[in-house]
């Protein structure tokens, strides 16, 4: 049996009781060598999920596991040792890198922290990563992080995350500031690591990127799972109205963008489908919470999602 790398079960996260939960009843699992995308707009709970998985946030209810071990009973020391098998790329390249180091120092820093003696081979590895990500050799030891652009910092963050050869990489919008051509370089590098056996949880709001990068995807809206399934199916044949809207709004070469949402004000105390405020189809039944229905390798939380025919 393949090893489980990460899993969450019925995870709920409440920051403030007077607001809707940041995450509600989310479950998923990831096995060795697998890749998974968390897709959704800002505020959908993607980043919180990553932080919960690293034990940086504690859930209000539900369970999270890393490498088969439950996180809830662990103390700080145990958490730290399990985190060493993971790398995390935070979303913000301006807050996520030490500004006063040069790129080479920034990339080998995780090695210094996790290894007692730094071998030459490992410094070579850092250099190789930097050069494959297009950071000029002349700048490695001459320019400080604070002088680099957002896109360059993102690439330095990726090098820093990969240098320890993590078993699991949690990457939060790691290509958001890249131009089209450099983005392909990043994707190809990540794919090479996936081939070597790394597992990946990839946060993005872009379904095309989710498909290019990962096998499976989870679409989240306001903290709830809308739809899960293989990323190529999510893109080609979306079931949930939110996934449909995401797909049609994606700018694709030469195809006009379509807006498939209808913005409504929610009645106070509304407890129904989290997508009701945007859904163009919403009807009376949607004032209850739709269950997540399993349909083979996919699942969808919508009363009409699996039967719905485009007219």
């Amino acid at each position: 049996m393949t090893k489980e790398v990460a899993a969450v079960e019925n995870l709920t996260l409440i920051f403030d009781k007077s607001y809707a939960p940041a995450l509600a009843d989310v479950s998923f699992y990831l096995k060795e060598r697998e890749s998974l995308s968390l897709v959704g707009e800002s505020g959908s709970g993607k980043t919180s999920l990553l932080r919960l998985l690293l034990g940086l946030l504690r859930p209000s209810s539900g369970k999270a596991r890393l490498f088969g071990q439950p996180l809830d009973g662990m103390d700080e020391k145990e958490l730290r040792s399990i985190r060493r098998k993971c790398s995390y790329i935070p979303q913000d390249p301006f807050g996520g890198l030490p500004p006063t180091l040069n790129p080479l120092q920034a990339v080998i820093e995780p090695l210094i922290i996790t290894r007692s003696n730094l071998k030459d081979v490992e410094t070579e590895k850092a250099k190789k990563l930097l050069s494959s990500l297009g950071i000029e050799e002349a700048l490695w030891e001459r320019k400080l992080i604070q002088g680099f652009s957002g896109g360059q910092r993102q690439r330095i963050m990726l090098a820093r995350a990969l240098v320890t050869d993590p078993e699991l990489l949690l990457a939060d919008e790691p290509t958001s500031m890249q131009d089209a051509s450099t983005r392909m370089d990043l994707i190809n590098l990540l794919k090479a690591y996936l081939k070597k056996g790394m597992s990946l949880i990839f946060v993005t709001h872009d379904l095309l990127l989710a498909k290019a990068m990962t096998q499976r995807g989870i679409v989240l809206y306001r903290g709830r799972v809308c739809e899960t399934g293989p990323t190529d199916l999510l893109l080609r044949d979306p079931l949930h109205p939110y996934t449909k809207a995401l797909v049609s709004a994606l700018p694709k070469l030469g195809k006009p963008v379509e807006v498939k949402v209808k913005r409504k004000t929610l009645p106070t105390g509304f407890k129904g489908c989290s997508y009701f405020a945007l859904c163009p189809y919403g009807f009376d039944r949607c004032k209850d919470l739709p269950p997540l229905k399993q349909l083979g390798e996919r699942s969808v939380a919508c009363f009409i999602g699996d039967t719905f025919q485009e007219t």
Binding site: E41, S42, S149, G151, D179, A180, S181, R183, M184, H205, D206, L208, L209, A212, A245, L246, S248, A249, L250, P251, K252, L253, G254, K255, P256, V257, E258, V259, V261, L278
Partner: protein, 254 residues
């Protein structure tokens, strides 16, 4: 017609960001200026409006309906901005003053450029908000009481407040989710058609440009290397850089 010919721009530190760029924008059309970061897109539109930092060198011609903008004295340039041509800055949704209501910010701009009574100005502001899909209740809001998409709509309404013939927009949808981005792009396109306004949009996203703009102009290292109808340029790009851009996107979509 907005005509830019042989425009060059050099920053005070000597960096030559735009090199003999040419472009033409007709009324009622949307032209997208596409290129990677550092290719000179933003500098080009600031140079068109005389908004580069002091000490920058700009040469070439920028005509708005035959008016030679760069040859005008500063005071006349100032009167043309907003009324003839207005600008939506990158991250413009964060450029509202946090301590003033939206109404106050509209009136400030209109008082400066139009001779309207307060009542007329308020009515006009409400009409503009309606045009971008917001009800007049937003006039009494503060910027922090609005979502990113709502602020962006508001910024567009404000750019229209002196009924300009041309609108220049620098990355008008960055930092918005794809659905809001699609809504804003459709809104801009319908405004361009309805008002028969010319719009120049800077974006790094060729897919977005090709799905909304009528024409695309590709910039590379400060030069405008290829301008073509959107559907044509993605089907048969000619310059090597354009070919590479189209290819890297098609690879994603496969």
């Amino acid at each position: 017609m907005m005509e830019v010919s042989s425009l060059s721009a050099t920053y005070p530190n000597g960096f030559n960001a735009v090199k003999r760029a040419d472009l033409n924008l007709a009324s009622g059309k949307m032209l997208a200026l596409v290129g990677e970061s550092g290719s000179g897109k933003s500098t080009l539109i600031y140079a068109c409006l005389g908004l580069l930092p002091k000490g920058s060198k700009v040469s070439g011609k920028v005509l708005f309906d035959q008016i030679d903008f760069l040859a005008l004295p500063q005071e006349s340039q100032r009167r043309i901005r907003w009324k003839k041509v207005s600008l939506i800055l990158q991250g413009t949704m964060n450029s509202f003053t946090p301590v003033l209501t939206i109404k106050r910010q509209f009136l400030e701009t209109m008082e400066e450029h139009l001779k309207l009574t307060q009542r007329e100005a308020e009515a006009k502001a409400a009409g503009l908000l309606e045009e971008v899909g917001l009800d007049d209740g937003f006039l009494s809001r503060y910027p922090h009481e609005m979502s990113g998409g709502q602020k962006q709509r508001c910024a567009i309404a404000m750019a229209l407040c002196c009924d300009p013939d041309y609108l220049l927009a620098d990355e008008p949808t960055t930092a918005l989710d794809v659905i809001t981005q699609a809504e804003i792009m459709n809104l801009l396109k319908s405004i361009v058609r309805r008002r028969n306004m010319g719009m120049l949009m800077v974006t790094h996203d060729l897919a977005l440009a090709s799905s909304t703009a009528d024409e695309i102009c590709v910039m590379y290292q400060g030069c405008t290397i290829e301008t073509e109808r959107s559907d044509v340029i993605i089907r048969s790009p000619k310059q090597p850089h354009t070919i590479a851009l189209v290819k890297s996107l098609s690879m994603m979509e496969e």
